[in-house]
Amino acid sequence: MKSPLFLLPVLALAACATKPVPPPMVDLAAVHCESDLALGGATPVLFDPKNGKMTPGLIDGGAPCLAEKAGTRALYRVFTLPAAADSFVIDVRATPWANTILAPRVLMLDGNGRETRSATRADFTFRGQSLSTLLRSHDDERYLVVLSDSEMLGRTVSRIVEGVQTNMVFTPYAAVAYNTGTDRTNVMTLTPTGRVEVTLTPIKPDGK
């Protein structure tokens, strides 16, 4: 019998193999949901009156779930907005998480939890690789709720991403830098879970 050492390269290859990524969660049928939003435990959004400030958030499998009147279900996370004297821009972003991204929408609520306005999928655009919507602050709004969009779950978005990287080659006489370009297609599945960023940026009085 041959030595088992011949198996070593195979084992080494197996160790290097990419671990299979589990399929993204897109079905909320088994998740317990409530018919009202739970506003307790909301995350305060950071605000700096001079500069933009980002507050991260995560909607994962343990996030609260809303059973909506239309019969749909949505995971969500609640943020509280500052009672700032100045106007500010609210940037709500869903950022990629492996090969998935939250299918986002936003509800804005007043201090009594009443809905004042919303941002739906038509209001979100890609900025870089994130899905983003921008809103101007309204004085009467105290809560910002980021929810999953049940109609978009499981769909994929495909994005072509171009890049350039600089490489160096060292010789005994000189170092030479050269650039190489990359062109790849990112495919992301829209899911009810994902990373969220809420950034508040003050607007100067002249609007600039």
Partner: protein, 236 residues
């Protein structure tokens, strides 16, 4: 396009992209219900198209390499100019028509306002209050054409289009909206609206653009149309 013209265009593009300090300001239509008539300034537009290879081989070889790159760049730009001329394409007129029609479909009245068409960034001054105009929409397009990240079939030439858009109130130039749109970005553009290029307009080599001029023109039209629609949607 000469080195200096390309440098100016790229500088303007950088000003529109991630390096820009001008913040994005969303439009709040509910708060601006009196804004019904938009004066659309003649868009700032480059003198010609650009065909940009982001990783030219000559970049590694100093001034001589840069001159060779510039010559190749210039030849590609001329090829694109010839294709556009042969198709009688007025991309700026098409862009303005598309943008105006989209804004009108959203309930605005759009009035053309003459402005310096050679500017590569936003206007320094606005005409001021004028009868029947509630706001001015300032659009600057520093660059359009084709761009490839690298040489080789795996990084093809794809349509490229960049625009900045700014809406100011007519009577006091207060900024009501400001944003940037780039169709086919290169590198990280975290704060810019990024439109992914349509995969059907991919040309592995520059010769492929010359061999399929109809599709090359359609690619540029697609980039301009989608950018115009995106700008109009910022005012919905």
């Amino acid at each position: 396009m000469t080195i200096s013209k390309l440098a100016a265009a790229l500088t303007a593009l950088l000003a529109l992209s991630a390096c820009a300090t001008q913040p994005e300001i969303p439009y709040d239509r509910n708060a601006e219900q009196s804004n019904k008539t938009i004066g659309l300034l003649t868009p700032g537009w480059p003198s010609g198209p650009t065909s940009f290879l982001a990783s030219e081989p000559g970049q590694s070889f100093g001034l001589v390499g840069a001159l060779i790159d510039a010559a190749r760049q210039s030849n590609r730009d001329k090829d694109l100019e010839k294709i556009i001329a042969a198709h009688n394409l007025d991309l700026r007129a098409q862009f303005v028509t598309r943008l105006s029609a989209n804004l009108e479909s959203k309930g605005y009245k759009v009035v053309a306002v003459s402005a310096d068409a050679t500017r590569s960034s936003f206007a320094k001054k606005y005409p001021g209050a004028a009868e029947g105009i509630d706001s001015y929409l300032d659009v600057a397009v520093p660059i359009y054409g084709y761009m490839a990240a690298g040489i080789g079939a795996d990084s093809p030439y794809r349509p490229w289009f960049a625009a900045g858009a700014k809406l100011v109130r007519a009577n006091d130039a207060h900024v009501l909206m400001q944003d940037r749109v780039v169709y086919n970005t290169i590198g990280e553009a975290k704060n810019v609206i990024t439109l992914s290029p349509d995969p059907q307009y991919a040309f592995p080599k520059w010769n492929d653009v010359e061999a399929a001029p109809d599709r090359a023109v359609a690619g540029m039209q697609d980039a301009a149309d989608k950018s115009a629609d995106t700008i109009a949607n910022l005012l919905k």
